[in-house]
């Protein structure tokens, strides 16, 4: 009998479709993901290729997009809504463009990731309904494009920072652990919202609104110090300020700016709360997702 695979030798299969796995075993998730890493990368690659294949400027758009965003926002905040008291929006000696871009690229990463992940299962229902594979791959692959734009955005940020006279010191390396914390929050929330969105499509709309609110409730185009200063001067009630600080992105964005633009080690308190949120979000998101994964196709 002729071998079915056309004579090729095939080694033992290690992939176990997640839906056959024990639902409770949290540790199974990283194992499944490790086994599906090639699939994850393939899906990301597909997303990138498809996005730019028929665009005349191709991958250049990844560069143009954050640049255009920065130019528009800089124009609005520096020329149209000029601060009346002449106080710089970010710390002393930090140009508005650099400060804005630093907040923007990291904020955009989370926004785009959570937004794309939330819709991912529904958008990829043609796969989910038909083939059994590690379901987590779908929302995680949706974060591929935001990650790519983040990398491009970082390059733009560094260039802008240097051109406007800034220095890049060793403290910039702090951005790496900060990003890991942000990644945990983003992935955890993405998994959670994508699983919930399948059952209740309302989640998608809620996420959009929440992210829009988050843009203003996070120090993207202004400095966290402004909020802190306003709190200590009594202009903002303490309760509101606490509420504001429950948003882990508030501390994270401030920490990124300290590490890159101010060239110093970020204040310790800025790490603590985001780390806690990151762990909670990642665990919670994974558990909820895995619980829904087996029957997610029933709702599509």
């Amino acid at each position: 009998m002729k071998p079915v695979n056309g004579g090729a030798t095939i080694t033992a299969m290690a992939t176990t479709p997640s839906t056959h796995a024990d639902r409770g075993a949290l540790l199974q998730v990283p194992r499944d993901l490790l086994a599906s890493r090639e699939l994850l990368l393939d899906l990301v690659r597909k997303d990138l290729r498809v996005r730019y294949r028929y665009a005349a400027l191709g991958f250049l758009w990844a560069l143009l997009e954050p640049l255009a965003y920065m130019i528009v926002l800089t124009f609005i905040f520096e020329r149209v809504l000029t601060p009346t008291d002449g106080v710089p929006m970010f710390g002393e000696g930090i140009p508005f463009a650099s400060g804005l871009l630093c907040g923007l690229v990291f904020w955009q990463f989370s926004t785009q990731s959570i937004g794309a992940a939330t819709a991912s299962l529904v958008e990829n229902q043609h796969l989910v309904k038909k083939v059994a594979f590690t379901r987590e791959v779908i929302p995680l692959a949706a974060m591929g494009y935001p990650t790519f734009s983040l990398l491009i955005g970082l390059v733009v940020l560094l260039v802008v920072h240097r051109v406007l006279g800034g220095q890049v010191g060793s403290s910039a390396l702090w951005m790496a652990p900060l990003f890991l914390i942000q990644l945990g929050i983003t992935a955890g929330l993405g998994l959670l919202t994508s699983a919930l969105n399948v059952r209740y499509r309302d989640v998608g709309y809620m996420v959009t609104v929440a992210l829009l609110l988050g843009f203003y409730a996070s120090p993207v185009f202004y400095d966290l110090d402004w909020v802190l200063a306003a709190t200590s001067s009594g202009d903002v009630p303490r309760a509101v300020s606490w509420l504001y600080l429950t948003n882990p992105m508030a501390a994270l964005l401030e920490a990124y700016r300290q590490a890159l633009l101010e060239g110093r080690r970020p204040d310790t308190w800025l790490f603590v709360w985001p780390s806690v949120v990151s762990l909670l979000a990642l665990t919670g998101g994974t558990v909820v997702f895995r619980r829904q994964a087996a029957t997610v196709s029933d709702y599509l």
């Binding site: 056309g6 479709p17 498809v50 083939v131 059994a132 196709s297």
Partner: protein, 695 residues
């Protein structure tokens, strides 16, 4: 080892709609919930599938077949009970999952295989095999949006089949691509089965289910109605479910016929006579085949024993009309078709698929056995062509008596229609009797109009005597008499008899041609017999190996004499190295005589094996004759105009124990007779008998 073990497994889908689902959870839900609970998609079911088993799953749409496969594929999880699946499952449920039109074929292969659980290294190892099987070597680096739908499906199927899992889930995928690729897919699935893979097969194509599956599970509204023996379950399905589906049934005595979406099944004493594919109409238009089973059917005047069904095609201006009546156990099916707009349509056929248990066929004066259908048969093969002047044929099953002999008659058919008996490919596993009409299409599409395809009568109530009667009646039309001498056409040869006593044996009087190294026997040709006048029989034979035809003209001259003219009409240049007219004599003949020599046939045992030429030397001469005790002397004589002819006498080997006399023309050392295209008289002469009393 059991690969799939399901214990009381059930599936209930959630009620769809976010609002209802949300409200259904809380206290408010009880107030607002008005929709009744969702019915079980699959009622508790226990099932064990062993390694190497092929399980068929049949049932109507919505009966839970797909749910069962989805559960086993791991796409969803059971809501009750447990399901254990050991080993890897590949589903051919949905081909090309994840295929993106903007990616190249190569990228899609990796992505799709990845979704099916393959690593890059594994895909790389069998990548060439995937591309070869899909026949896409040149296109693999082009984006998929440049592919035709056929190419797309071929690639998708190829990936799926190369994932090398333990369990294959197959759902109607065999209806993808063109005919040739479908056959290839079927062959591949068959190979998988024979390689010991486990297959779960969902299909409406009951013929394939029957061939492929060891066991069948019949589902109805999520419940298992029947499981076990394939044939019994399929019969049950067709009779019970099919009927409940509002499909029309006519019955008379032991015979009943069931019309089910463009397919007619015939039952005799509750056993299906037709193969699961039944009787249907097929036509070729706009580049693809269309079947009556894909039309929308409405019944007109459905009665106890007759009805008319009209089938329309959603995207073709074609209507099919089937009129069925059942009178005294004879089923009469008239098929007509109509195109309401000018249409490019080149072929229409009425196909009757019969159970492969039918082993013997009768067509005109011929009769033969259907060759067995072997696993490597991927194509239909012609078994016999029913001569144009014959309107009937019959099939008979082997002796166990479960299936009745079946008589099939054609009437009202177009002159150009061909009536033919075929074997199907292995998967369909059936005998086909079909009436095919090829419509010559030029640049002009066929003008609108209603045309008759023909009427087919199936009679499962006939007995063996009736079968022979059919044969007799036909024989009369294909015989010629000259006093007591009679020549009867019999499958490419002429059987001679005098005073009702048969003079010839085995191959009777036949012609042999030798082209190069290839001997062609007249009996290998497909013949058409026409009676020109009472005294002339014209028999024209064609063979796939000969561009042209061979034509006998047999005339009754003076009593005891038959005139014989054999003409070759070749359409291409042909070189013949030798040809002859051979007469296989009955065992009573013991001596032969030509102008130059004579001898006896003698005892075959003394001659050993092989054919033995009895003439000591080859001397040209115009005739050869044979004699025997109590036998009329029989003489074959060539006309002088024919040139050099060699009379030969041959004793065949011990096994055949045959006595042959022949007149042969050989090109000898010249090599070959080069025949330009045109008509060439190969033989002209006479054959006569002299009664022993008169000599």
């Amino acid at each position: 080892m059991a690969l799939i073990e399901a214990t009381n497994m059930a599936k209930r889908y959630p009620a769809l709609g976010g609002k209802r689902a949300l409200l259904g959870r809380g206290g408010m839900g009880r107030l607002f919930r008005t929709t009744p609970p969702v019915p079980m998609a699959l009622s508790p079911l226990s099932l064990t599938v062993e390694a190497g088993e092929a399980l068929g799953i049949i049932g109507r749409n919505g009966s839970g077949k797909s749910t069962l496969l989805k559960l086993i594929a791991g796409v969803t999880a059971p809501s009750e009970g447990t399901l254990k699946v050991h080993g890897r499952v590949a589903s051919l449920l949905e081909l090309g999952a994840g295929f993106h039109p903007m990616l190249t074929g190569r990228e899609n292969v990796y992505l799709n295989a990845g979704l099916l659980g393959m690593r890059h290294a594994q895909v790389r190892a069998c990548f060439d095999a995937i591309v070869d099987f899909a026949e896409l070597a040149e296109h693999i680096d082009r984006t998929v949006d440049t592919y035709s739908s056929g190419m797309f499906v071929r690639l998708a199927f190829s990936v799926a089949i190369h994932t090398d899992p333990d369990v294959f889930l197959v759902d109607e995928v065999l209806s993808v691509g063109d005919e040739a690729f479908q056959r290839k897919c079927r062959a591949r699935i068959l190979a998988l089965k024979e390689a010991g893979k486990t297959i779960l097969f969902v299909s409406h194509d009951l013929g394939t289910v029957q061939t492929l599956c060891d066991r069948v599970l019949l589902l109805e509204q999520g419940e298992v109605l029947s499981r076990g023996d394939t044939q019994a379950t399929i019969d049950y399905y067709l009779r019970q479910i099919g009927q409940a589906q509002g499909i029309h049934r006519v019955a008379s005595g032991d015979v009943e016929a069931l019309f089910n979406h463009g397919r007619l099944s015939l039952f005799h004493r509750q056993r299906e006579v037709t193969a699961p594919l039944g009787l249907k109409v097929q036509f070729f238009s706009m580049g693809s085949y269309h079947e009556s089973t894909s039309a929308e059917w409405t019944l007109e005047s459905p009665g106890e024993t007759e009805f008319t069904a009209v089938g329309t095609f959603p995207r073709l201006p074609v209507r099919l009309y089937l009129t069925v009546s059942l009178v005294e156990g004879r089923l009469c099916l008239s098929a007509a078709w109509e195109n309401t707009q000018p249409l490019d349509l080149s072929y229409v056929a009425l196909q009757c698929f019969l159970r492969s248990a039918y082993t013997t066929w009768y067509a005109g004066t011929q009769r033969g056995a259907f060759p067995p259908i072997a696993p490597q048969d991927h194509q239909w093969s012609t078994v016999a062509t029913v001569p144009r002047n014959t309107a009937s044929c019959a099939v008979q099953a082997s002796a166990d008596g479960a299936l009745p002999p079946l008589l099939l008659e054609i009437s009202d058919a177009d002159e150009c229609a061909r009536f033919q008996l075929d074997n199907t490919d292995y998967m369909a596993q059936a005998r086909i009797v079909h009436l095919t009409e090829a419509i010559p299409t030029g640049a002009v599409p066929l003008p609108p109009g209603r045309r008759t395809l023909g009427t087919l009568v199936l009679d499962p109530t006939c007995d063996d005597a009736a079968l022979r009667q059919v044969q007799r009646a036909q024989e009369a039309a294909e015989r010629i008499e000259s006093g007591p001498l009679m020549a009867q056409y019999r499958g490419g040869a002429l059987a001679l008899s005098a005073h009702e006593q048969l003079l010839t044996d085995a191959l009777h009087l036949h012609a042999q041609l030798r082209c190069g190294a290839l001997w062609m026997l007249g009996t290998d040709f497909t013949w058409d017999v026409t009676r020109e006048t009472d005294d002339t029989l014209v028999i024209t034979g064609r063979s796939a190996r000969l561009a042209g035809s061979l034509c006998w003209e047999v005339t009754a001259a003076t009593p005891h004499h038959l005139g014989l003219v054999l003409t070759l009409h070749n359409e291409e240049r042909l070189s013949l190295s030798e040809y002859n007219l051979s007469l296989c004599l009955e065992a009573g003949y013991n001596a032969w005589q030509s102008a130059e020599a004579s001898g006896v046939f003698g005892d075959a045992g003394a001659l050993g094996t092989g054919w033995t030429h009895l003439n000591p030397t080859y001397e040209a001469g115009p005739y050869i004759s044979a004699t025997g005790p109590e036998r009329p002397k029989i003489t074959l004589h060539a006309d002088e105009s024919l040139g050099t002819v060699f009379p030969t006498a041959i004793r065949t080997d011990t096994a055949q124990d045959g006595r042959v006399v022949q007149l042969l023309c050989s090109s000898g050392r010249a090599g070959a007779f080069a025949l330009e295209p045109g008509a060439h008289v190969l033989f002209s002469g006479r054959l006569w008998t002299e009664d022993p009393t008169s000599s």
